[in-house]
Homo-oligomer: 274 residues x 2
Amino acid sequence: MLVNGQIADSISIEDRGLLYGDGIFETIICEQGQAILFDQHIARLQQGCEALELARQNETTLQSEIMDVAQGEDCVIKVLVTRGSRMRGYRYDANDETHTRIVYRSPLPEIPDTFYHQGITLGLSEYRLPSNQALAGIKHLNRLDQVLACRGWEDDYSEKIVLDNDGLIIEGTMSNVFIEMNGKLKTPVLLRSGVAGVMRQWLVEHANLMDIEVIQSELNLEDLKQADAIFVCNSVVGIWPVTKFIDQNFPISSNTRTLMTFIRDKLSNLYIAL
Amino acid sequence: MLVNGQIADSISIEDRGLLYGDGIFETIICEQGQAILFDQHIARLQQGCEALELARQNETTLQSEIMDVAQGEDCVIKVLVTRGSRMRGYRYDANDETHTRIVYRSPLPEIPDTFYHQGITLGLSEYRLPSNQALAGIKHLNRLDQVLACRGWEDDYSEKIVLDNDGLIIEGTMSNVFIEMNGKLKTPVLLRSGVAGVMRQWLVEHANLMDIEVIQSELNLEDLKQADAIFVCNSVVGIWPVTKFIDQNFPISSNTRTLMTFIRDKLSNLYIAL
Protein backbone atom coordinates (compact mmCIF):
# COMPACT_ATOMS: atom_id res chain seq x y z
CA MET A 1 0.00 0.00 0.00
CA LEU A 2 1.34 3.41 -0.93
CA VAL A 3 0.15 6.80 0.29
CA ASN A 4 1.74 9.59 -1.75
CA GLY A 5 4.45 7.14 -2.74
CA GLN A 6 5.32 6.06 0.81
CA ILE A 7 4.50 2.66 2.28
CA ALA A 8 1.51 3.19 4.59
CA ASP A 9 -1.81 1.56 5.38
CA SER A 10 -3.62 4.51 6.92
CA ILE A 11 -4.48 8.15 6.29
CA SER A 12 -5.08 11.15 8.52
CA ILE A 13 -8.55 11.33 10.05
CA GLU A 14 -8.57 14.95 8.82
CA ASP A 15 -8.24 13.93 5.19
CA ARG A 16 -11.03 15.44 3.09
CA GLY A 17 -11.46 12.06 1.44
CA LEU A 18 -12.84 10.80 4.75
CA LEU A 19 -14.52 13.98 5.98
CA TYR A 20 -16.34 14.86 2.74
CA GLY A 21 -15.68 12.08 0.22
CA ASP A 22 -13.78 14.84 -1.57
CA GLY A 23 -11.95 12.72 -4.12
CA ILE A 24 -12.16 10.05 -6.78
CA PHE A 25 -11.11 6.45 -7.26
CA GLU A 26 -10.45 3.73 -9.80
CA THR A 27 -10.61 -0.02 -9.34
CA ILE A 28 -8.24 -1.73 -11.77
CA ILE A 29 -7.68 -5.40 -12.44
CA CYS A 30 -4.06 -6.45 -12.98
CA GLU A 31 -2.90 -9.54 -14.87
CA GLN A 32 0.59 -10.56 -13.78
CA GLY A 33 1.06 -7.05 -12.46
CA GLN A 34 -0.08 -5.33 -15.68
CA ALA A 35 -2.98 -2.91 -15.22
CA ILE A 36 -5.73 -3.85 -17.69
CA LEU A 37 -7.43 -0.90 -19.43
CA PHE A 38 -4.86 1.39 -17.79
CA ASP A 39 -5.23 4.22 -20.32
CA GLN A 40 -9.00 4.23 -19.92
CA HIS A 41 -8.81 4.21 -16.13
CA ILE A 42 -6.32 7.07 -16.13
CA ALA A 43 -8.41 9.06 -18.59
CA ARG A 44 -11.45 8.76 -16.36
CA LEU A 45 -9.38 9.57 -13.27
CA GLN A 46 -8.10 12.75 -14.93
CA GLN A 47 -11.65 13.68 -15.98
CA GLY A 48 -12.74 13.24 -12.36
CA CYS A 49 -9.85 15.41 -11.16
CA GLU A 50 -10.90 18.09 -13.61
CA ALA A 51 -14.57 17.92 -12.62
CA LEU A 52 -13.70 18.31 -8.93
CA GLU A 53 -10.84 20.78 -9.57
CA LEU A 54 -8.36 18.33 -8.06
CA ALA A 55 -4.74 18.32 -9.21
CA ARG A 56 -4.20 16.30 -12.39
CA GLN A 57 -2.15 13.19 -11.69
CA ASN A 58 1.22 12.30 -13.13
CA GLU A 59 0.55 9.20 -15.19
CA THR A 60 4.09 7.88 -15.07
CA THR A 61 4.12 8.09 -11.28
CA LEU A 62 0.77 6.35 -11.06
CA GLN A 63 1.77 3.60 -13.42
CA SER A 64 4.98 2.92 -11.54
CA GLU A 65 3.19 2.92 -8.18
CA ILE A 66 0.61 0.47 -9.49
CA MET A 67 3.38 -1.82 -10.71
CA ASP A 68 5.15 -1.53 -7.36
CA VAL A 69 2.03 -2.51 -5.47
CA ALA A 70 0.84 -5.21 -7.90
CA GLN A 71 4.23 -6.99 -7.71
CA GLY A 72 3.70 -8.93 -10.90
CA GLU A 73 0.62 -10.71 -9.59
CA ASP A 74 -2.99 -11.11 -10.63
CA CYS A 75 -4.82 -8.74 -8.29
CA VAL A 76 -7.12 -5.75 -7.98
CA ILE A 77 -5.55 -2.33 -7.49
CA LYS A 78 -7.53 0.53 -6.07
CA VAL A 79 -6.31 4.08 -6.67
CA LEU A 80 -7.78 6.96 -4.67
CA VAL A 81 -7.02 10.66 -5.06
CA THR A 82 -8.38 12.98 -2.37
CA ARG A 83 -7.96 16.70 -1.74
CA GLY A 84 -5.78 15.99 1.32
CA SER A 85 -6.21 17.81 4.60
CA ARG A 86 -4.83 21.32 4.19
CA MET A 87 -8.12 23.18 3.75
CA ARG A 88 -10.61 23.11 6.63
CA GLY A 89 -14.32 23.40 5.95
CA TYR A 90 -16.01 22.77 2.63
CA ARG A 91 -14.22 25.54 0.76
CA TYR A 92 -11.14 24.71 -1.29
CA ASP A 93 -8.57 26.51 -3.34
CA ALA A 94 -8.58 25.24 -6.92
CA ASN A 95 -4.96 26.39 -7.26
CA ASP A 96 -3.78 24.35 -4.27
CA GLU A 97 -2.50 21.06 -5.63
CA THR A 98 -2.33 19.34 -2.21
CA HIS A 99 -3.74 15.86 -2.50
CA THR A 100 -3.53 12.36 -1.09
CA ARG A 101 -2.81 9.59 -3.59
CA ILE A 102 -3.47 6.07 -2.37
CA VAL A 103 -2.59 2.87 -4.23
CA TYR A 104 -3.45 -0.45 -2.65
CA ARG A 105 -3.96 -4.05 -3.58
CA SER A 106 -6.70 -6.59 -2.96
CA PRO A 107 -6.97 -10.19 -4.08
CA LEU A 108 -9.03 -10.98 -7.17
CA PRO A 109 -12.71 -11.32 -6.24
CA GLU A 110 -13.93 -14.90 -5.88
CA ILE A 111 -16.62 -15.26 -8.52
CA PRO A 112 -18.41 -18.56 -9.15
CA ASP A 113 -17.82 -19.93 -12.69
CA THR A 114 -21.58 -20.26 -13.03
CA PHE A 115 -21.87 -16.47 -13.21
CA TYR A 116 -20.19 -16.67 -16.60
CA HIS A 117 -21.35 -20.05 -17.86
CA GLN A 118 -24.95 -20.04 -16.72
CA GLY A 119 -25.48 -16.31 -16.25
CA ILE A 120 -26.72 -14.43 -13.21
CA THR A 121 -30.07 -13.47 -11.76
CA LEU A 122 -30.66 -9.74 -11.71
CA GLY A 123 -32.86 -8.03 -9.12
CA LEU A 124 -34.29 -4.54 -8.85
CA SER A 125 -33.16 -2.15 -6.12
CA GLU A 126 -35.87 -0.14 -4.41
CA TYR A 127 -33.45 2.77 -4.08
CA ARG A 128 -33.68 5.57 -6.64
CA LEU A 129 -30.59 7.44 -7.82
CA PRO A 130 -30.84 11.23 -7.61
CA SER A 131 -30.12 13.32 -10.71
CA ASN A 132 -27.02 15.47 -10.53
CA GLN A 133 -25.36 16.55 -13.75
CA ALA A 134 -22.32 17.92 -11.93
CA LEU A 135 -21.38 14.49 -10.57
CA ALA A 136 -22.88 12.14 -13.18
CA GLY A 137 -20.42 9.70 -14.69
CA ILE A 138 -17.59 10.49 -12.24
CA LYS A 139 -16.23 7.75 -9.99
CA HIS A 140 -16.09 9.99 -6.90
CA LEU A 141 -15.94 8.93 -3.27
CA ASN A 142 -19.57 9.85 -2.43
CA ARG A 143 -20.96 6.37 -2.87
CA LEU A 144 -23.79 6.24 -0.33
CA ASP A 145 -26.18 5.91 -3.28
CA GLN A 146 -24.57 2.59 -4.18
CA VAL A 147 -24.41 1.46 -0.53
CA LEU A 148 -28.10 2.25 -0.01
CA ALA A 149 -29.00 0.64 -3.34
CA CYS A 150 -27.70 -2.61 -1.78
CA ARG A 151 -29.96 -2.33 1.28
CA GLY A 152 -31.78 -5.54 2.14
CA TRP A 153 -29.92 -7.62 -0.46
CA GLU A 154 -31.49 -11.02 -1.03
CA ASP A 155 -29.14 -13.90 -1.84
CA ASP A 156 -31.27 -14.77 -4.87
CA TYR A 157 -29.62 -11.97 -6.78
CA SER A 158 -26.04 -11.50 -7.96
CA GLU A 159 -26.60 -7.91 -9.03
CA LYS A 160 -29.42 -5.38 -8.93
CA ILE A 161 -30.64 -2.76 -11.37
CA VAL A 162 -30.96 0.77 -10.03
CA LEU A 163 -33.38 3.32 -11.50
CA ASP A 164 -33.50 7.09 -11.19
CA ASN A 165 -36.49 9.07 -9.92
CA ASP A 166 -38.03 9.09 -13.40
CA GLY A 167 -37.96 5.29 -13.55
CA LEU A 168 -35.12 5.20 -16.07
CA ILE A 169 -32.55 2.41 -15.77
CA ILE A 170 -29.16 3.85 -14.81
CA GLU A 171 -26.87 0.96 -13.88
CA GLY A 172 -26.28 -2.00 -11.60
CA THR A 173 -25.04 -1.39 -8.06
CA MET A 174 -21.47 -2.13 -9.22
CA SER A 175 -21.79 -2.64 -12.95
CA ASN A 176 -23.19 -1.14 -16.13
CA VAL A 177 -26.08 -2.71 -17.99
CA PHE A 178 -26.49 -3.57 -21.68
CA ILE A 179 -29.66 -4.89 -23.26
CA GLU A 180 -30.00 -6.40 -26.70
CA MET A 181 -32.96 -5.62 -28.97
CA ASN A 182 -33.13 -6.87 -32.55
CA GLY A 183 -29.42 -7.54 -32.63
CA LYS A 184 -28.44 -4.07 -31.38
CA LEU A 185 -27.07 -3.29 -27.92
CA LYS A 186 -28.41 -0.45 -25.83
CA THR A 187 -26.94 0.95 -22.63
CA PRO A 188 -28.35 3.79 -20.50
CA VAL A 189 -27.12 7.33 -21.10
CA LEU A 190 -25.41 8.59 -17.94
CA LEU A 191 -25.78 12.36 -18.22
CA ARG A 192 -27.72 12.90 -14.99
CA SER A 193 -26.55 10.06 -12.73
CA GLY A 194 -24.57 6.85 -12.66
CA VAL A 195 -20.94 5.88 -13.09
CA ALA A 196 -19.60 5.70 -16.62
CA GLY A 197 -17.71 2.42 -16.27
CA VAL A 198 -14.43 1.89 -18.08
CA MET A 199 -15.57 -1.48 -19.48
CA ARG A 200 -18.85 0.07 -20.65
CA GLN A 201 -16.92 2.81 -22.42
CA TRP A 202 -14.53 0.34 -24.02
CA LEU A 203 -17.43 -1.76 -25.33
CA VAL A 204 -19.21 1.34 -26.65
CA GLU A 205 -16.05 2.24 -28.56
CA HIS A 206 -14.97 -1.19 -29.76
CA ALA A 207 -18.06 -3.38 -30.25
CA ASN A 208 -18.31 -2.20 -33.85
CA LEU A 209 -15.09 -4.11 -34.55
CA MET A 210 -17.19 -7.23 -34.00
CA ASP A 211 -20.02 -5.81 -36.13
CA ILE A 212 -22.09 -5.10 -33.05
CA GLU A 213 -23.84 -1.75 -32.84
CA VAL A 214 -24.13 -0.06 -29.41
CA ILE A 215 -26.54 2.80 -28.77
CA GLN A 216 -26.64 4.92 -25.61
CA SER A 217 -30.25 5.78 -24.89
CA GLU A 218 -32.89 6.22 -22.21
CA LEU A 219 -34.12 2.80 -21.11
CA ASN A 220 -36.89 1.84 -18.74
CA LEU A 221 -37.99 -1.41 -17.11
CA GLU A 222 -40.33 -2.20 -19.99
CA ASP A 223 -37.35 -2.09 -22.36
CA LEU A 224 -35.48 -4.45 -20.06
CA LYS A 225 -38.35 -6.91 -19.89
CA GLN A 226 -38.73 -6.91 -23.65
CA ALA A 227 -35.02 -7.35 -24.31
CA ASP A 228 -33.76 -10.32 -26.29
CA ALA A 229 -30.75 -10.59 -23.98
CA ILE A 230 -29.09 -8.71 -21.10
CA PHE A 231 -25.61 -8.50 -19.67
CA VAL A 232 -23.85 -6.46 -17.01
CA CYS A 233 -20.16 -5.59 -17.00
CA ASN A 234 -17.37 -3.85 -15.20
CA SER A 235 -13.63 -3.72 -15.61
CA VAL A 236 -12.97 -6.14 -12.75
CA VAL A 237 -15.44 -8.97 -13.44
CA GLY A 238 -15.71 -8.56 -17.20
CA ILE A 239 -19.11 -9.54 -18.61
CA TRP A 240 -21.80 -11.47 -16.73
CA PRO A 241 -24.68 -12.67 -18.91
CA VAL A 242 -28.04 -12.12 -17.24
CA THR A 243 -30.24 -15.19 -17.61
CA LYS A 244 -32.95 -14.11 -15.21
CA PHE A 245 -34.46 -10.76 -14.22
CA ILE A 246 -36.48 -11.38 -11.04
CA ASP A 247 -38.63 -14.23 -12.45
CA GLN A 248 -38.25 -13.73 -16.19
CA ASN A 249 -35.73 -15.85 -18.09
CA PHE A 250 -33.35 -14.62 -20.78
CA PRO A 251 -30.97 -16.49 -23.08
CA ILE A 252 -27.25 -15.86 -23.43
CA SER A 253 -27.15 -14.34 -26.91
CA SER A 254 -24.48 -14.91 -29.51
CA ASN A 255 -23.57 -11.21 -29.26
CA THR A 256 -22.96 -11.61 -25.53
CA ARG A 257 -20.76 -14.66 -26.21
CA THR A 258 -18.90 -12.75 -28.91
CA LEU A 259 -18.15 -9.83 -26.60
CA MET A 260 -17.06 -12.12 -23.75
CA THR A 261 -14.56 -13.74 -26.10
CA PHE A 262 -13.59 -10.34 -27.52
CA ILE A 263 -12.61 -8.84 -24.14
CA ARG A 264 -10.71 -11.99 -23.19
CA ASP A 265 -8.77 -11.92 -26.46
CA LYS A 266 -8.21 -8.16 -26.66
CA LEU A 267 -7.86 -7.17 -23.02
CA SER A 268 -7.05 -9.92 -20.56
CA ASN A 269 -7.18 -13.66 -20.00
CA LEU A 270 -8.67 -12.85 -16.62
CA TYR A 271 -11.96 -12.10 -18.35
CA ILE A 272 -13.80 -15.40 -18.58
CA ALA A 273 -15.43 -16.36 -21.88
CA LEU A 274 -17.75 -19.22 -22.74
CA MET B 1 -7.89 12.14 18.93
CA LEU B 2 -9.60 8.84 19.62
CA VAL B 3 -10.44 6.07 17.17
CA ASN B 4 -12.72 3.47 18.77
CA GLY B 5 -11.56 4.76 22.14
CA GLN B 6 -7.83 4.41 21.42
CA ILE B 7 -5.47 7.33 20.89
CA ALA B 8 -4.84 7.56 17.14
CA ASP B 9 -4.71 10.16 14.39
CA SER B 10 -5.30 7.93 11.37
CA ILE B 11 -7.65 5.29 10.02
CA SER B 12 -7.25 2.35 7.67
CA ILE B 13 -7.30 3.26 3.99
CA GLU B 14 -9.84 0.43 3.63
CA ASP B 15 -12.35 2.11 5.95
CA ARG B 16 -15.72 2.50 4.26
CA GLY B 17 -15.84 6.05 5.57
CA LEU B 18 -13.04 6.87 3.12
CA LEU B 19 -13.97 4.48 0.31
CA TYR B 20 -17.68 5.31 0.13
CA GLY B 21 -18.39 8.10 2.63
CA ASP B 22 -20.36 5.36 4.38
CA GLY B 23 -20.93 7.11 7.70
CA ILE B 24 -22.11 10.20 9.51
CA PHE B 25 -20.63 13.02 11.54
CA GLU B 26 -21.37 15.76 14.05
CA THR B 27 -19.48 18.98 14.65
CA ILE B 28 -19.93 20.11 18.24
CA ILE B 29 -18.76 23.24 19.98
CA CYS B 30 -17.46 22.79 23.54
CA GLU B 31 -17.32 25.49 26.21
CA GLN B 32 -14.74 24.64 28.84
CA GLY B 33 -14.95 21.03 27.69
CA GLN B 34 -18.75 20.85 27.87
CA ALA B 35 -20.43 19.83 24.63
CA ILE B 36 -23.09 22.43 23.78
CA LEU B 37 -26.38 21.02 22.45
CA PHE B 38 -25.04 17.54 23.22
CA ASP B 39 -28.48 15.87 23.41
CA GLN B 40 -29.50 17.33 20.07
CA HIS B 41 -26.26 16.29 18.38
CA ILE B 42 -26.56 12.76 19.72
CA ALA B 43 -30.20 12.54 18.67
CA ARG B 44 -29.29 13.50 15.12
CA LEU B 45 -26.32 11.13 15.12
CA GLN B 46 -28.58 8.24 16.17
CA GLN B 47 -31.11 9.21 13.48
CA GLY B 48 -28.30 9.11 10.94
CA CYS B 49 -27.17 5.69 12.19
CA GLU B 50 -30.72 4.45 11.84
CA ALA B 51 -31.12 5.87 8.33
CA LEU B 52 -27.90 4.20 7.15
CA GLU B 53 -28.44 1.02 9.22
CA LEU B 54 -25.27 1.74 11.19
CA ALA B 55 -24.93 0.52 14.77
CA ARG B 56 -26.55 2.88 17.29
CA GLN B 57 -23.94 4.56 19.44
CA ASN B 58 -23.55 4.27 23.20
CA GLU B 59 -24.22 7.80 24.44
CA THR B 60 -22.29 7.43 27.69
CA THR B 61 -19.21 6.25 25.79
CA LEU B 62 -19.49 9.11 23.33
CA GLN B 63 -19.95 11.71 26.04
CA SER B 64 -16.95 10.47 27.96
CA GLU B 65 -14.78 10.35 24.83
CA ILE B 66 -15.77 13.90 23.94
CA MET B 67 -14.84 15.06 27.45
CA ASP B 68 -11.52 13.20 27.22
CA VAL B 69 -10.66 14.87 23.93
CA ALA B 70 -11.97 18.34 24.82
CA GLN B 71 -9.86 18.43 28.01
CA GLY B 72 -11.90 21.19 29.62
CA GLU B 73 -11.16 23.67 26.87
CA ASP B 74 -13.16 25.80 24.46
CA CYS B 75 -12.88 23.90 21.19
CA VAL B 76 -14.69 22.16 18.37
CA ILE B 77 -15.14 18.40 18.56
CA LYS B 78 -15.87 16.38 15.48
CA VAL B 79 -17.42 12.92 15.86
CA LEU B 80 -17.49 10.52 12.93
CA VAL B 81 -19.08 7.08 12.80
CA THR B 82 -18.31 4.94 9.75
CA ARG B 83 -19.18 1.35 8.85
CA GLY B 84 -15.55 0.28 9.35
CA SER B 85 -13.73 -1.97 6.92
CA ARG B 86 -15.03 -5.51 7.39
CA MET B 87 -17.36 -5.61 4.38
CA ARG B 88 -15.81 -5.25 0.91
CA GLY B 89 -17.84 -3.77 -1.93
CA TYR B 90 -20.96 -1.66 -1.57
CA ARG B 91 -23.04 -4.35 0.14
CA TYR B 92 -23.29 -4.40 3.90
CA ASP B 93 -24.85 -6.51 6.60
CA ALA B 94 -27.31 -4.49 8.65
CA ASN B 95 -26.77 -6.92 11.54
CA ASP B 96 -23.00 -6.40 11.60
CA GLU B 97 -22.29 -3.72 14.18
CA THR B 98 -18.68 -3.19 13.11
CA HIS B 99 -17.96 0.52 12.96
CA THR B 100 -15.23 3.11 13.34
CA ARG B 101 -15.91 5.87 15.88
CA ILE B 102 -13.64 8.89 15.63
CA VAL B 103 -13.55 11.80 18.08
CA TYR B 104 -11.14 14.64 17.46
CA ARG B 105 -10.59 18.22 18.42
CA SER B 106 -10.00 21.42 16.47
CA PRO B 107 -9.51 24.97 17.73
CA LEU B 108 -12.50 27.32 17.73
CA PRO B 109 -12.91 28.91 14.29
CA GLU B 110 -11.54 32.44 14.00
CA ILE B 111 -14.57 34.57 13.16
CA PRO B 112 -14.36 38.36 12.80
CA ASP B 113 -16.52 40.21 15.38
CA THR B 114 -18.02 42.17 12.50
CA PHE B 115 -19.87 39.02 11.35
CA TYR B 116 -22.01 39.38 14.48
CA HIS B 117 -22.06 43.14 14.99
CA GLN B 118 -22.41 44.34 11.42
CA GLY B 119 -23.73 41.17 9.81
CA ILE B 120 -22.46 39.28 6.80
CA THR B 121 -22.86 39.48 3.05
CA LEU B 122 -24.59 36.46 1.56
CA GLY B 123 -23.94 35.23 -1.97
CA LEU B 124 -25.68 32.72 -4.20
CA SER B 125 -24.00 29.46 -5.21
CA GLU B 126 -24.40 28.40 -8.81
CA TYR B 127 -24.47 24.77 -7.71
CA ARG B 128 -27.86 23.10 -7.36
CA LEU B 129 -28.51 20.48 -4.70
CA PRO B 130 -30.02 17.21 -5.97
CA SER B 131 -33.20 15.88 -4.39
CA ASN B 132 -32.84 12.66 -2.45
CA GLN B 133 -35.37 11.86 0.23
CA ALA B 134 -33.34 8.92 1.55
CA LEU B 135 -30.44 11.17 2.54
CA ALA B 136 -32.17 14.52 3.15
CA GLY B 137 -31.51 16.01 6.58
CA ILE B 138 -28.80 13.50 7.53
CA LYS B 139 -25.27 14.73 8.27
CA HIS B 140 -23.60 11.94 6.30
CA LEU B 141 -20.06 11.85 4.94
CA ASN B 142 -21.04 12.36 1.27
CA ARG B 143 -20.45 16.09 1.20
CA LEU B 144 -19.32 16.73 -2.37
CA ASP B 145 -22.49 18.79 -2.83
CA GLN B 146 -21.26 21.23 -0.20
CA VAL B 147 -17.70 21.22 -1.56
CA LEU B 148 -18.92 21.94 -5.09
CA ALA B 149 -21.35 24.57 -3.81
CA CYS B 150 -18.23 26.46 -2.65
CA ARG B 151 -16.61 26.39 -6.09
CA GLY B 152 -15.19 29.71 -7.20
CA TRP B 153 -15.82 31.41 -3.86
CA GLU B 154 -15.45 35.18 -4.02
CA ASP B 155 -14.07 36.90 -0.92
CA ASP B 156 -16.99 39.35 -1.00
CA TYR B 157 -19.17 36.71 0.59
CA SER B 158 -19.07 35.12 4.04
CA GLU B 159 -21.67 32.49 3.18
CA LYS B 160 -23.66 31.46 0.12
CA ILE B 161 -27.22 30.29 -0.38
CA VAL B 162 -27.70 27.00 -2.20
CA LEU B 163 -30.86 26.17 -4.16
CA ASP B 164 -32.23 22.86 -5.38
CA ASN B 165 -33.06 22.06 -9.01
CA ASP B 166 -36.53 23.59 -8.59
CA GLY B 167 -35.03 26.91 -7.48
CA LEU B 168 -36.07 26.43 -3.86
CA ILE B 169 -33.75 27.71 -1.16
CA ILE B 170 -32.33 24.79 0.85
CA GLU B 171 -29.52 26.11 3.05
CA GLY B 172 -26.18 27.88 3.19
CA THR B 173 -23.03 25.91 2.33
CA MET B 174 -22.38 25.34 6.04
CA SER B 175 -25.41 26.88 7.75
CA ASN B 176 -29.19 26.98 7.75
CA VAL B 177 -31.13 30.03 6.65
CA PHE B 178 -33.99 31.90 8.34
CA ILE B 179 -35.89 34.79 6.80
CA GLU B 180 -38.26 37.14 8.59
CA MET B 181 -41.54 38.29 7.04
CA ASN B 182 -44.06 40.38 8.97
CA GLY B 183 -42.50 39.42 12.28
CA LYS B 184 -42.56 35.67 11.59
CA LEU B 185 -39.53 33.53 10.84
CA LYS B 186 -39.45 31.07 7.97
CA THR B 187 -36.85 28.41 7.26
CA PRO B 188 -36.76 25.97 4.32
CA VAL B 189 -38.29 22.51 4.72
CA LEU B 190 -35.59 19.91 4.28
CA LEU B 191 -37.51 16.85 3.15
CA ARG B 192 -35.73 16.36 -0.19
CA SER B 193 -32.25 17.76 0.41
CA GLY B 194 -30.12 19.71 2.84
CA VAL B 195 -28.77 19.14 6.34
CA ALA B 196 -31.17 19.66 9.23
CA GLY B 197 -28.83 21.64 11.48
CA VAL B 198 -28.94 21.19 15.24
CA MET B 199 -29.12 24.95 15.86
CA ARG B 200 -31.90 25.26 13.27
CA GLN B 201 -33.84 22.53 15.03
CA TRP B 202 -33.27 24.10 18.46
CA LEU B 203 -34.52 27.47 17.22
CA VAL B 204 -37.58 25.87 15.58
CA GLU B 205 -38.41 24.25 18.93
CA HIS B 206 -37.56 27.12 21.29
CA ALA B 207 -38.17 30.43 19.51
CA ASN B 208 -41.76 30.43 20.77
CA LEU B 209 -40.36 30.93 24.29
CA MET B 210 -39.36 34.39 23.07
CA ASP B 211 -42.76 34.88 21.39
CA ILE B 212 -41.23 34.34 17.97
CA GLU B 213 -43.09 32.09 15.55
CA VAL B 214 -41.07 29.86 13.19
CA ILE B 215 -42.59 28.21 10.13
CA GLN B 216 -40.89 25.59 7.96
CA SER B 217 -41.93 26.17 4.36
CA GLU B 218 -40.83 26.19 0.74
CA LEU B 219 -38.93 29.41 0.06
CA ASN B 220 -37.53 30.78 -3.17
CA LEU B 221 -35.21 33.66 -4.06
CA GLU B 222 -38.12 36.08 -4.38
CA ASP B 223 -39.08 35.35 -0.77
CA LEU B 224 -35.51 36.02 0.28
CA LYS B 225 -35.36 39.33 -1.58
CA GLN B 226 -38.64 40.46 -0.04
CA ALA B 227 -37.66 39.44 3.48
CA ASP B 228 -37.61 42.03 6.27
CA ALA B 229 -34.48 40.41 7.71
CA ILE B 230 -32.29 37.32 7.19
CA PHE B 231 -29.93 35.32 9.36
CA VAL B 232 -27.93 32.12 9.00
CA CYS B 233 -26.96 29.82 11.85
CA ASN B 234 -25.20 26.66 12.85
CA SER B 235 -24.25 25.09 16.14
CA VAL B 236 -20.59 26.18 15.93
CA VAL B 237 -20.88 29.85 14.92
CA GLY B 238 -24.30 30.59 16.46
CA ILE B 239 -26.27 33.23 14.54
CA TRP B 240 -24.87 35.54 11.86
CA PRO B 241 -27.22 38.36 10.83
CA VAL B 242 -27.27 38.86 7.06
CA THR B 243 -27.09 42.57 6.20
CA LYS B 244 -26.49 42.15 2.48
CA PHE B 245 -27.61 39.60 -0.11
CA ILE B 246 -25.42 40.15 -3.17
CA ASP B 247 -26.17 43.89 -3.56
CA GLN B 248 -29.38 44.28 -1.56
CA ASN B 249 -29.17 45.56 2.03
CA PHE B 250 -31.08 44.17 5.00
CA PRO B 251 -31.35 45.42 8.59
CA ILE B 252 -30.57 43.38 11.70
CA SER B 253 -34.08 42.92 13.10
CA SER B 254 -35.03 42.98 16.76
CA ASN B 255 -36.05 39.31 16.44
CA THR B 256 -32.56 38.43 15.23
CA ARG B 257 -31.06 40.35 18.16
CA THR B 258 -33.44 38.61 20.55
CA LEU B 259 -32.46 35.14 19.30
CA MET B 260 -28.74 35.95 19.40
CA THR B 261 -29.11 36.91 23.06
CA PHE B 262 -31.37 33.92 23.69
CA ILE B 263 -28.84 31.32 22.47
CA ARG B 264 -26.05 33.03 24.41
CA ASP B 265 -28.11 33.01 27.60
CA LYS B 266 -29.64 29.55 27.20
CA LEU B 267 -26.90 27.60 25.47
CA SER B 268 -23.39 29.03 25.63
CA ASN B 269 -21.40 32.18 26.21
CA LEU B 270 -19.47 31.24 23.10
CA TYR B 271 -22.43 32.40 21.01
CA ILE B 272 -21.89 36.10 20.44
CA ALA B 273 -24.82 38.48 20.94
CA LEU B 274 -25.16 42.18 20.14
